[in-house]
Amino acid sequence: MKQRRLKIIAASVILLVAMAFLVVAGIRSTSVRHFTPAALVANANAVDNQKVQVDGIILEGSSKWDAVNFELTFAVREREGSETVNVIYADRLKPDNFTDGGSVFVEGRYDATQNLIVASKLMTKCASKYEGAESVTMTSRAGG
């Protein structure tokens, strides 16, 4: 009886440790550090040639779509600041909702010398669902 309980406990512990190991190893190998543009610029040398995530605003007037080379270039600006990071995103369609001044999330390899992210992933906020500031402007427009 006792021995059986011991076996069951041992099996449970092994399972738990295995799962924990999976998670830790998974996080270790894939976790990507997240910055705002200002924080990235400040830590530029420490993260040179590493995968990073940046989230901010698409700098007004910065986005350029080169159809021939299938290439999108733009700069991400600090939400409440002026620091920017350049982004190049190639061979992928521009996501829906990508507009200057909009929110954007970029993931890719950072090149400190050029202050440039070669993006592998680009996401814009799913516009259907955000509330807040937008709906305020909406309301005032509707009211006036």
């Binding site: 976790s31 021939v68 299938f70 906020k125 509707a142």
Partner: protein, 672 residues
């Protein structure tokens, strides 16, 4: 006027919900049937009141009442009628009202199902937690708290907007019309089994009664969630233009985690029924599943996780977190109070038995849920641990989920054929040997095919094929043996025997059909996630590109006027090995009114070749296509993606078969 009536109904429902909670508590405690009956009536009253409020909002949409703030935000005069109605759940305020309405429907259905019972039935206990959850949502939609306004509110000072902003075009598609309500129905019907668990604790009747009553609700919820999650994936696949159906986005994870826990619960209740074990576990599991439906809302509404979908920050997350913590504390308090009755009567006898297969299954489901939760919350956790915000990409989930996922796949075959209590050499020889051998053969064939195609070391695909074929063989053998036995006993044909077999035990064999669906789904995921092709190119009219065996030639541009948008795109000739197959017309839609959405959306062209898809998405269209302008084209070849949808359909079919088993065992005592 209707908006005012609706608002009044919402405020009145605060009273009816409070009345229900109060009278049910008092009536059940003092064994006063009149009070309990009055409490039941109050639950019905809440349903009527919230129906009035919901109806008033729909009336506002249909009549284009642009004095109502919510109507202006999600609808517009030109919006087709279907989308005027689905605008009900287009944004937060309305979706909360819709959620609440479904919850009141659930309450009314519980009363209806138990209308013939005496007034101290378990169902009456279960109505209390249901009414409490209703009250929470009623308070959210009154507009009295910060962060969310009353969906029936008008603009202050009697302003009237000339027209509404319109719904996001991405949501104006049939599957998006049905995806959110399906998920909501699934989540909300999960409240009922949870309520029965709480009712069982409160009343002290922790036998199998609550399991029997909650199981069918859980199964219903499971079927609906399965459909809802798949509709979401299907919508993303067809509308978003990135060629995939699942990206481990926080919102997707939030819908997936309750599904995993619900699936675990559907399995663990069988152990309680057959072996009278896991009583405490079942209560905790269903509590966890319910809390995860709220947690999903918390994650997506609070703004603590930034994601594609992250609904903007709002204070509402705090209320959800508070409610989750308070209700969990309440359940734990009841568990402590009933601690003695929750002890299991039996213990595990062996590590290799059906019981432990079930327990391992539960561990894996809960483990997967926790892994996914950890990954989803990693941005917060990492910041708390080392002050550096970080997050994990899709690759994390794909990597970490695969081994537990394959183990679970193996269990879908091993669980049904392993013997109870302890496996014997005889059981192993009789049930496992052949399926294992066939599975090994299947794995080897997959290896051979992939090696021929030049894929080196496709270890997971081989394991997946091995497990999948093993499960197929094991389950088919179960059907075959059972049907043959029935046919022999009833002296009828094999097919009749098979029919009888399923009819007599719908739950068991429905479950096995679900398992077959799971195998099919895994094969589809393996093909579409593991072996898709993606090619991008910039093309002028007349130019071609190659994707796998397909050649695509851009033929001509086109433009059409539609109800509330313009459709523009280009036509492609598709050839395979030089043979003309078809013409595909990817496009973009330019909506006249898009609310806060993008007015210009990608409308991919998808063509099915058997179970493989060719998928074309277009970038921004130049104005001068016919004069040599360049169009950006992204083409996917998704092998076996059709199998994904087939697998889910089989799962749902199995679920429906299992659901068809009538709730007839009330009088029969289960093993005590």
């Amino acid at each position: 006027m209707t908006a005012e009536i609706g608002q009044a109904a919402i405020f009145l429902s605060i009273l009816s919900a409070l009345w229900a909670i109060g009278l049910l508590c008092v009536g059940l405690r003092q064994r006063n049937p009149n009070a309990v009956q009055s409490g039941r009536n109050a639950v019905i009253a809440t349903f009527v009141l919230i129906s009035i409020a919901t109806g008033a909002l729909i009336y506002g949409f249909v009549t284009d009442d642009f004095s109502m703030r919510y109507v202006v935000e999600v609808s517009s005069a030109a919006q087709p009628l279907l989308y005027k109605i689905t605008a009900l759940w287009g944004r937060m305020a309305g979706s909360l009202l819709f959620w609440l309405w479904l919850l009141t429907v659930a309450g009314a259905v519980v009363i209806w199902q138990n209308r013939k019972e005496t007034t101290d039935s378990l169902a009456d206990y279960a109505l209390i937690p249901i009414a409490i959850v209703q009250l929470f949502f009623i308070i959210l939609v009154t507009g009295l708290i910060e962060g969310v306004y009353n969906p029936l509110a008008r603009f202050p000072n009697g302003q009237i907007a000339p027209d509404g902003a319109g719904m996001n075009p991405l949501l104006q598609t049939p599957s998006m019309a049905f995806h959110p309500p399906t998920l909501y129905i699934g989540w909300i019907s999960l409240t009922v089994p949870f309520a029965f668990a709480v009712g069982a604790l409160a009343s002290g009747r922790i036998g199998s009664d609550w399991i029997l009553r909650s199981r069918r609700w859980m199964l219903f919820s499971w079927i609906v969630l399965t459909i809802g999650i798949t509709l979401g994936g299907n919508w993303a696949y067809r509308e978003l233009g990135w060629g995939g159906y699942w990206a481990w986005d926080p919102v997707e994870n939030a819908s997936f985690m309750p599904w995993l826990l619900g699936t675990a619960y559907l399995h663990s209740v069988m152990i309680q029924e057959k072996r009278n074990m896991l009583k405490l576990w079942n209560i905790l599991l269903i509590t966890l599943a319910f809390q995860f439906t709220l947690l999903g809302t918390f994650i997506t509404r609070s703004g603590i996780i930034s994601s594609v979908h992250a609904f903007a920050q709002s204070d509402i997350g705090g209320y959800f977190l508070g409610f989750i913590l308070a209700s969990t504390a309440g359940v734990l308090g009841l568990v402590a109070y009933r601690w003695k009755r929750l002890k299991s009567a039996n213990r595990l006898e062996s590590l290799l038995s059906r019981e432990s297969a079930f327990i391992l299954n539960n561990w894996l489901f809960v483990g997967l849920t926790l892994i996914i939760l950890w990954g989803t919350l990693w941005p917060i956790i990492s910041e708390a641990i080392n002050g550096q915000k970080a997050s994990v990409p899709e690759a994390f989930f794909n990597k970490v989920v695969i081994i537990p996922g394959l183990l679970l796949l193996f269990l879908t075959g091993a669980g049904p054929i392993i013997s109870w209590k302890k496996i014997t050499p005889n059981n192993f020889r009789r049930m496992f040997l052949w399926p294992m051998a066939i599975g090994l053969f299947g794995g080897a064939v997959t290896w051979g095919i992939l090696a021929l195609k030049g894929h080196t070391a496709p270890i997971y695909s081989v394991l997946c094929s091995f497990a999948g074929v093993f499960v197929f063989a094991a389950i088919f053998a179960e059907f075959y043996r059972g049907a043959k036995l029935r046919a022999k006993r009833q002296e009828t044909s094999f097919l009749n025997g098979l029919n009888l077999l399923i009819q007599r035990n719908k739950r068991r064999y429905g479950g096995y059909i679900v398992h077959i669906g799971i195998v099919i789904l895994y094969i589809g995921i393996m093909g579409s996630k593991g072996y898709f092709l993606l090619e991008s190119d910039s093309l002028k009219l007349g130019e071609s590109m190659q994707v796998g065996a397909f050649q695509l030639t851009m033929k001509n541009g086109f433009q059409e006027e539609r109800e509330n948008y313009i459709r523009a795109g280009v036509a492609f000739d598709v050839k395979k090995n030089g043979r003309q197959l078809t013409t595909m017309t990817p496009a973009r839609h330019f909506y006249h009114k898009a609310g806060q959405g993008e007015q210009d959306t990608i409308e991919s062209a998808i063509r099915h070749f058997g179970v493989n898809d060719l998928y074309i998405a277009l970038g921004d269209l130049p104005p001068n296509i016919n004069a040599g302008g360049v169009v950006n084209v992204q083409v996917y070849h998704n092998p076996l993606i059709g199998v994904v949808w087939i697998g889910v359909a089989v799962m749902v079919l199995g679920g429906i078969v299992a659901f068809a088993e009538k709730y007839q065992r009330k009088s029969r005592t289960l093993i005590e």
